[in-house]
């Protein structure tokens, strides 16, 4: 993991604010001890009849000034420390996203979106609590305890202070024990909750089976078990809290009791004044909060630590794709595959096996084959979404590993199989791949992809929002928008990955015609199931289980009578049935 992602680094960045925050915190604690002292002086002076009203007013003004200073400082430490904690959260959030952008597809295949998102939400939250709230509570409580103890020690009675602080020492130790145990129980509770989520998720996904076999009641009972377990584990946490927190109360109460017995007798014996006795009582009361806070901040710190480790695990993930190429000359579009083999990290079988071919600048290559035969893998490798060995893929005769990564990827216009569009306007979606597209360029790309008319039918035209919060557009419209996006990019190499499957044959033909005109002299790779899509390709590659089963021109392959020829005949027949159907009309 890089040094800049260490928490200490973030803390260092805001060191001035933290120091100021802690100083104002100390100021609050110091001033805070004067208030009981002044009220003690009031009661003392009154009982001793040495204080008149003007003396009282004098002390009241002192108390008010203290109060004002405390209020101001309390605002300031919140501003300094909570502000810094928020800023650290903000920095970490941005760094996390920037780091995620560098990670390769291998990482995303292994990690679920939901899980990655949890790092941004709950984990960053826990870290923020640690560097904000918990820092304050721990500094505050330690300092306040010391301050109050000093006051009690020097101003009131050494023996009384020592005696009254015995229970408090117990608290300090108990809270460490408590922190450890509550963490274990808390983790068990989290686990039970995550099991519950899994069961609910599974039963909701499998609802069709459950209904078909009328197993609703049995699954409900099964769910009840997990529900019960979640409740039990929650109760385990609660049971500890139910004893620990009142215990804290009783221990601080013991301090008050000692004060009453011993301090009271000291007061009666005249060893301390009444005012001192009252002030001492107030001090003891003031010690309760720091003791509680120590326990709480220990819990917060341990949760923060766990979250920090989770966030660190993202930061320490490295992309296996290292961008250390330097080549950045304009790409012409010659593609050369040289005994290309590839295996996914976590799989045992190879996804691609010994593929050798050459596509010259301006030619088009079609790739066909069954689902899962390696078509998409192949084009992903061209863009270096995964790493291949040196020499396996060359573009313009240069190994792709020697290209500057950004330059390599910018040389492709890739229309993905799943046509991912962002929840944004159509303009921005089509213009996504280009730096400063003009509206004319966008419309012309849309026209060439035959989506322009559809866009104009929307109420807001090109400004229509698509995706989750916008209009839902059909699969075919999505595909064509994605094609427009790729066309606008006008890169040396175009890749269409099954990108015309959701449009009818008529539209397909028109788009293909447009493509052949716009892309004249440029390289194209087309993956398709429909033969009609690829009929005009210069070369056709048939993949079968990652192997180069057949390779050649359309005519060659049809003549060969292999996989491709069978596919072709089947589709021809289907087409015939379809056309017969439309001629036949209603049935007998």
């Amino acid at each position: 993991m890089e040094k800049k992602y260490k928490l200490s680094h973030y803390l260092y960045k805001y060191r001035v604010k933290y120091i100021l925050g802690i100083l104002t915190l100390f100021a609050v604690d110091i001033i805070n001890t004067y208030i009981p002292q002044f009220t003690g002086e009031v009661t003392d002076g009154l009982t001793a009849r040495t204080l008149d009203m003007s003396g009282v007013y004098h002390l009241i003004i002192k108390i008010l000034l203290c109060g004002l200073a405390i209020a101001l400082c309390r605002f300031l430490w919140r501003y300094f420390i909570f502000g810094s904690a928020r800023a650290i959260e903000y920095d970490m959030r941005n760094d996390l996203f920037a780091h995620l952008e560098t990670l390769s597809m291998n990482y995303y295949n292994k990690n679920k979106t939901g899980d990655l998102m949890a790092h941004f939400t709950s984990d960053l939250n826990a870290i923020r609590m640690s560097v904000g709230m918990a820092v304050i509570s721990s500094f505050d409580s330690i300092f306040m305890t010391i301050m109050i103890l000093i006051k009690m020690f020097f101003n009131i009675s050494i023996s009384l202070t020592l005696l009254a602080s015995v229970p408090l020492i117990i608290i300090a130790f108990a809270s460490i024990w408590y922190g450890k145990n509550i963490k274990i129980r808390f983790e068990k509770k989290q686990e039970a909750f995550s099991n519950l989520t899994d069961v609910a998720n599974e039963d909701i996904s499998g609802v069709r089976v459950i209904k078909a076999f009328v197993r609703e009641r049995s699954r409900l009972k099964e769910f009840a078990k997990y529900n019960q377990d979640n409740m039990d584990k929650t109760m385990d946490v609660v049971k500890l809290q139910a004893v620990a927190i009142p215990l804290l109360d009783i221990i601080t109460g013991l301090s008050s009791l000692i004060t009453l017995v011993y301090g009271g007798s000291l007061a009666i014996m005249g060893k301390i004044s009444l005012g001192q006795f009252i002030a001492f009582n107030q001090y003891i009361g003031m010690l309760v909060w720091p003791m509680l806070a120590i326990g709480e901040s220990i819990t917060t710190f341990s949760q923060g630590k766990a979250s920090l480790n989770r966030v660190y695990s993202i930061f320490s993930a490295k992309s296996e794709i290292i961008d250390n190429g330097t080549y950045d000359k304009p790409v012409m579009g010659d593609i050369e595959l040289n005994h290309l083999s590839f295996k996914y990290e976590d799989k045992t079988v190879t996804a691609l096996n010994d593929i050798t071919l050459k596509v010259n600048n301006g030619e088009s290559l079609a790739i066909v084959g069954k689902t899962g035969c390696g078509k998409t893998t192949l084009v992903n490798l061209l863009l270096r979404m995964y790493n291949v060995d040196n020499g396996m893929i060359k573009i313009d005769g240069i190994d792709i590993n020697d290209y500057k990564l950004k330059h390599l990827r910018e040389s492709f216009a890739y229309v993905l199989q799943d046509n991912f569009l962002f929840s944004d306007t159509i303009t921005n979606n089509i213009g996504f791949g280009s730096s400063h597209p003009t509206m004319d360029m966008i419309t012309s790309a849309a026209k060439n992809a035959l989506i322009h008319d559809n866009i104009m039918d929307f109420k807001d035209g090109y400004e229509t929002l698509v995706g989750e919060r916008g209009v839902t557009i059909s699969g075919g419209q999505k595909q064509r928008s994605a094609i427009a996006r790729a066309l606008l990019k006008d890169a040396p190499i175009l890749i269409l990955d099954d990108s015309l499957s959701a449009v009818d044959t008529d539209t397909e033909e028109k788009i293909l015609n447009n493509l052949s005109q716009i892309r004249k002299g440029k390289t194209s790779i087309i993956i398709a199931h429909r033969i009609s899509t690829i009929m005009n390709a210069d070369k056709i590659l048939v993949l079968d289980d990652g192997n180069m089963a057949e390779y050649g021109t359309f005519d060659e392959l049809v003549k060969k009578g292999g996989i491709f020829a069978t596919m072709y005949e089947k589709q021809q027949l289907e087409k015939q049935i379809d056309s017969d159907e439309s001629n036949e009309g209603e049935v007998k």
Partner: protein, 613 residues
Amino acid sequence: MDTLDLNKDNIDNINKTHVFRRLIRYIKPCLHLFIVSLVLVLMITGFDLARPVLLGDAIDEYILHDTDTSSDNINNQSISTNSLADNSRQKDLAGIRKTSVIYLILLILTFICNCLQTLLLQYTGQKVIYNIRQEVFEHTQALSLRFYDINPVGKITTRVTNDVEALSEMFSGILVKLFKNFIKIIGLATVMLSINVKLALLAFIVLPFVVIITIIFKKISRATYRVTRSKIAMLNAYLSEHISGMKVIQIFAKEVSKYDEFEKKSLELYNANYREMMVFAVFRPIIYFISIIALVTVIGTGSHAFLNGTITIGTLYIFIQYISSFFDPIQELAEQFGTLQSSIASAEKIFTLLDEKPQIVNPSNPIPVKEGINKIEFKHVWFAYDNENYILRDVSFTINPGEKVAFVGATGAGKSSILNLIGRYYDIQKGEILIDGINIKDIDKDALRKRIGQVQQDVFIFSGDIKSNISLNNPDISYEDVVNAAKYVNADHFISKLPGGYDEPVTERGQTLSQGERQLLSFARTLAYNPSILVMDEATANIDTETEILIEEALKKLMSGRTTIMVAHRLSTIQHADKIMVMHKGKIRESGTHQELLAAGGLYKKLYELQQK
């Protein structure tokens, strides 16, 4: 009736107080525990209040008892004390000890009550949560498939898990804390008033300011809170979209511009958080300062009263103590209302789900079905998933007992819909579906479905082991039944090869099993339930030849003696059918036996030729 779409915000129309009242209703089964818990809270609050009183009294009675006579001693301790004072001091010390014992008893009582109260309340709260979760889960299971077609699994799961969890804060914390603080405020006010009305009223003078400031604060904080929530939602939506779309970002090499976009959204959230923090940073010190004003008011007037001889120093002491404890619950109240509001927001989401009625309604007086002959009839059936785009248009056919009927046709022709309709997973818009002459709408849903064995195309495997996936944990299906069923459909073959045999654990979605194995497993599952009607959506997957033969055999066995309706892809399965129905665009275009249809030379013949290739 429209099916609830969880993606849409349908919360605005719900009344907040109504939601709260409905939530409270869940306490009912545990009401006795809840009441005991409240009583304990009352006692604890009483004890808490009594402690300073006890100390104040002790000061007045024992320590101050003879201040006048011993005042010299305080100032000048070297002077020896006389025996009379010594004697009274002994009495005072005894009094202190007596007070201490009472104080100790109070402490222990508070401790016990606190432990009990927390446990009881948490138990009540968790029990309520448990019940709500159970109800929500049961309800989702009862909802019709249409609901599951529209709503993503993740959203539904969140309702059952996280949204319910968000209520736990309310039941096991906030409600009682609100009560406790309310009681504390009332209690403190009463005690203060009973000790000294004038001083108490003076201490209360600042209260209107506290209320006004709290109201203003609430307004501002609610507004900032709302902004923050929406910024969080925006950022999360952005994240979820861009993490799943990371590939597009990378292939278009748009990392930098997307980062800038993210940073902008992130900054918006930061600013919202910052504003929220500032609101609190200003509010808390202001309230603190008001409490200081109250304190000096009490000190000032109290001192004046003491000098005039109208109150004792003990009373003044108690008031000074109370002032600080008086302001804590007030401040807490304001914050607890905030938490209550977010709990109510979660409750709203849950209730909208609970209010969604299952669309498939069980008949109120179902016609009891005996083991019939299993004749299936479709009479002029019209069906659309969304009431608009008809998938089936006026479909009529009869399947005689024991017959095997295969439906063939292109994707989207309506074959699978027919299978779904027989088990009444969806209701049809027009026409009738009859089994043994009884409309399926008049048959008990469970009884109907129990008669029908469904073999789905996509075999769903539950996490567990092999045997639980065959029996689906039905106690009526013994281990032997499981093995027999597996043997009968050729599944035993691969199961016995697994290291754990029938106890071999399978992970979620059965990733460790091949498609063919999953298929065989689902046959065993269906057979174990011994249905009289078989409804089957044949899988199209590419399966190795060896398994393919096993599957074909198994199918034959499974179908024998059962009325079977299937969507078939395999030629072998089709050829063995008694009748073949060719579907096209929601209608039955041809029907007959394999030979008849071939001879007719229509659609089927062409499809058949296609398959032959």
